[in-house]
């Protein structure tokens, strides 16, 4: 399942997508949980009883601001969450 967390508003689309099929059998030891400086990721048991990672509810509405530190306007080459997620389950839309 591709779970998209975030929102779209007048300024743009801000979604973090998590491929839960890659997430269920995480081979990175849930490194995303600690890699994110804002600690936005959390492990839950989803509706189909699979243990997966999601974005904490309050962060879903403030992603553009929460991720700003990792995305400086001067440019960036990698994001901590995506780098930590070696199975490649995490993607950012912006």
């Amino acid at each position: 399942m591709i779970a998209n967390y975030g929102y779209k508003d007048g300024s743009g689309e801000y979604y973090i997508s998590i491929d839960t099929d890659k997430c269920i059998s995480c081979t990175a030891g849930r490194a995303c949980l600690t890699a994110c400086p804002k600690l936005m990721f959390e492990t839950i048991t989803d509706d189909y009883d699979d243990e997966v990672t999601w974005i904490k509810k309050p962060n879903c509405r403030t992603l553009a601001y929460d991720c700003a530190d990792c995305k400086p306007s001067g440019g960036y080459t990698s994001l901590p969450c995506m780098t930590a997620c070696t199975p490649g389950a995490i993607k950012h839309s912006w």
Partner: protein
Amino acid sequence: MNAEVKADTLPEKKEFWRWQENVWIDETKDWKTAKIITCGIDVGSVSSQAVLVVDGELYGYNSMRTGNNSPDSATNALQGVMDKCGMKLEDIHFVVGTGYGRVNVPFAHKAITEIACHARGANYMGGNGVRTILDMGGQDCKAIHCDEKGKVTNFLMNDKCAAGTGRGMEVISDLMQIPIAELGPRSFDIDADVDAVSSVCVVFAKSEALGLLKAGYTKNKVIAAYCQAMAERVVSLLERIGVEEGFFITGGIAKNPGVVKRIEKLLGIKAMDTKIDSQIAGALGAALFGYTLQSKKAAA
């Protein structure tokens, strides 16, 4: 000095936004002969539904407005449908709560997200050909992909603002002083297509609608502009996850042809028809989840 206003001299406030609440029971079925009775309760931000499923089939439901207390809303919704068929809470084997207030359903055995429940409910209502679901709820909008069993494969939700939701339509209904059920049909009663209102925020859209009225737009033209804006907004949401054949719309806005027809036109796909009230999809899915869980429990 402030003038004193007596309550009985105030004009009666009409609730144009108020939609039809209803209770329905399938009179052809007898719940007393059923092996498994399950219930799904969807406590949404605007409406609450209680759905009864007997032996895996829809038996009855109650759809009403959510009050200011989620447990009370859940209790009232369930009590309404149980009263209609003479059922008691102890007759129900499994209750699943869903929606915003799912964790506040006092008698629920399990809480499941509305995303999974809408997919399951749409699968029941539209058949196993349903692949893309648009749930236009009271205060959020969800785009969901599911497989032939109604299991979610991709989803996206926007609950940051009320644009593109039922609450936004209620605001326009009140502003235009036209009953909400008439908005859709009236949006087609115009001479030519109109541009969508440009604002993506309901508050600004309301201001823009007032501006259009002052500029000489008829009410119908303003409604059409708002319906078009709502359609464009949810289509942009759908396009993010992609739209496949087997397109199904759930939620209260599915009853508004002014929005549905415009979405269909923008997507180039016709939404699937159903005889079941689109507003109960979440609660129906929850009850069906309950049926599966109870069946497993009984078999163990």
